[in-house]
Amino acid sequence: MERMPKWADVVLIPLISLLLAAAISGLVILAIGEDPVNALNLMVKGALGSTYGWGYTLYYATNFMFTGLAVAVAFHARLFNIGGEGQAMLGGLGVALVCLYLPWPHWSLALIASTVGAALFGAAWAFLPAILQAKRGSHIVITTIMFNFIAAAFLNWLLVGPLKPRGGMDPSTARFPEATNLPSLHDILAPLGIEFSRAAPANVSFLVGILACVLVWVLIWRTRLGYEIRAFGHSEPAARYAGISPTKITVITMLISGGLAGMMAINNVMGEAERLVLNATEGAGFIGIAVALMGRSHPFGVFLAAILFGFLYQGGAELALWTSIPRELIIVIQALVILFTGALDNMVRIPLEKLFMALRRRGA
């Protein structure tokens, strides 16, 4: 017998966790001498009150969709890919190489090639941790953390050395050619007669992100491979008994996960910066963890959680602009969301289960 209805598991628990995180964040804001209600107002107005705000919210959300999906796919196989940050950095390298060294007649072709490049580089960065986990039993959490640092050092070296254009001042690649610049939401919506801010960085990658959500849903719940991934995640011995190769599933899942994290680069590198800069990922790989936990590893949940975190990011930037609350408030909120939806899940779940059991007993 189910201990509680499915809607409670899918909606109620994340909601309560979110409220707890929000309440504590409110207390933190109070403690540093600011007004939480005013802060929330500012965040909503700054992130959702104009198409400019929405443009930033959706831009951040696109990043988090990719990294969130990356973590979610791995979660289905009960693998904790904490290396999204490094994989996204390498994805940026893939995008930069495609855009800089190949001639492109049109952005659409460049986008397709860049997506492939980003996914390949991201997947490649996940490959070694995956194979080491599958073949040698090295813990994937530790190896992916190590690979984040190795990726950071590697990109640092590339951007101050081989990839830096002659005469460049800051550690970054040259600007990508104009033909590879992606249309922003303004360019897409203008022909439809919808006015959208020209300055905001949200671009066509947002649509690619939504497409990725749909494809991941199809993969996980409508394909044989998805079934094998979920079976492996539920019980490795059972999966093995059913003829599913643990090595194969571990490696393939991590390749997909790394590829998704890498694909984030079409948004932040190709869509926004239009060149590869140092620390282009800005921690989005880690936010993917919060997004996947919040979204219960379901692509639709990841989509909603990504929008929520996009809102928090843009709202937090506005807060830092208008009040004395630094941007780091978002990191605190992110930590609290991870804490409540991930680590302290049972704290919310056990009392709720008891409540539903009691209700059912009374009803029966």
């Binding site: 540093i32 609290l336 302290l344 899940d345």
Partner: protein, 321 residues
């Protein structure tokens, strides 16, 4: 390279290895008891901030140290609550603690001091100064041994000596006391410990709190001895390097000392030489930065001996009902 240069690099190695060593031993206690802890970084960061902040306000480094340890213990308690009491995912809890510390330290620093997320620079009373060991001045002129004693062994802050003393102490606790035996047992086979009538929960909480104490020392050392004050994200991945060292050491105290000295040495080299010319090839500084992580992956891959973590590590203990 003359003796003086070598000594300076080694001296810097000792200074840089100290926080790694303390954090590594912290992780050792926790993981030997079966609680994975990737939140070493966050606990160090919190301790670094609170020790510097309180030392700046009170002017006493000892009160600062106490505050740093308390902050680290509080986060340890949170980790214990999540991973022992509520049987949550220990890795996720660690990630959350790292972010919590990264965000809160800057938030509070900004609110208290308005200096862009840092504490004011600590004056002499707010810092741990170097201790000149007896006879260091007198023996300084003795060839070779004198400079070694004066430069390398003498002149560090008290926390450096505490850290090095913690190595034999940890070894003794783990391998020569009843508590240590039980601690190791609870990390390998908690059912057996429970069957013997010993509380798994209490043992694991003690391990996690010892971990907090040591992380507190590590963080306080960073902000009040190695540097004079807190700056944003000042741990700079040291918690993860300590974790790498722990794996490198295969969860053993003496090997933890060697591993952290090695990683400290790499940091000291990277700090002194931007690009290291080895004659046949020039190593860029980034290669040195990445080396601890690459070495750890190689060790984890099992090509140079196999690193086997405590068997019950990462799994919450559920008493049979």
């Amino acid at each position: 390279m003359d003796l003086m240069t070598v000594l300076q690099v080694l001296d810097s190695t000792v200074r840089l290895a100290t926080p790694l060593l303390l954090a590594c031993l912290a992780g050792l206690f926790s993981e030997r008891a079966g609680i994975f802890d990737i939140g070493l970084e966050g606990k160090m960061l919190a301790a670094a901030f609170f020790s510097a902040a309180i030392a700046a306000v009170t002017g006493s480094v000892w009160i600062g140290l106490g505050a740093g340890i308390l902050a680290s213990l509080a986060l340890s308690g949170l980790h214990g609550l999540a991973s022992i009491t509520f049987r949550g995912n220990q890795l996720i809890s660690g990630v959350a603690i790292n972010f919590l510390a990264a965000g809160l330290t800057v938030l509070i620093a900004q609110s208290w001091f308005q200096q862009g997320g840092r504490t004011p620079a600590l004056l002499s009373g707010g810092r741990f100064g170097g201790i000149t060991l007896p006879g260091a001045e007198a023996l300084r002129e003795v060839p070779v041994l004198g400079p070694i004693y004066y430069e390398l062994i003498s002149g560090h802050s008290i926390l450096v000596y505490v850290a090095f003393a913690c190595v034999p102490l940890t070894w003794w606790i783990l391998y020569r006391t009843r508590f240590g035996l039980r601690l190791r047992a609870v990390g390998e086979n908690p059912e057996a410990v429970d069957t013997a009538g010993i509380s798994v929960v209490r043992l694991r909480y003690s391990a996690v709190l010892i971990c907090g104490l040591l992380c507190g020392l590590a963080g306080a050392y960073l902000a009040t001895a190695l540097q004079a004050g807190f700056v944003q994200d000042m741990t700079a991945g040291r918690g993860y390097i300590a974790l790498a060292a722990l794996i490198f050491a295969k969860w053993r105290p003496w090997h933890a000392l060697y591993a952290t000295l090695l990683f400290g040495f790499l940091q000291a080299i990277a700090l002194r030489y931007q690009n290291l010319d080895l004659g046949f090839v020039t190593l860029p500084v980034q290669a040195m930065d990445a080396l601890p992580y690459i070495l750890t992956v190689v060790i984890l891959a099992g090509f140079i001996g196999k690193a086997v973590p405590p068997r019950a590590g990462g799994a919450p203990y559920v008493k049979e009902r």
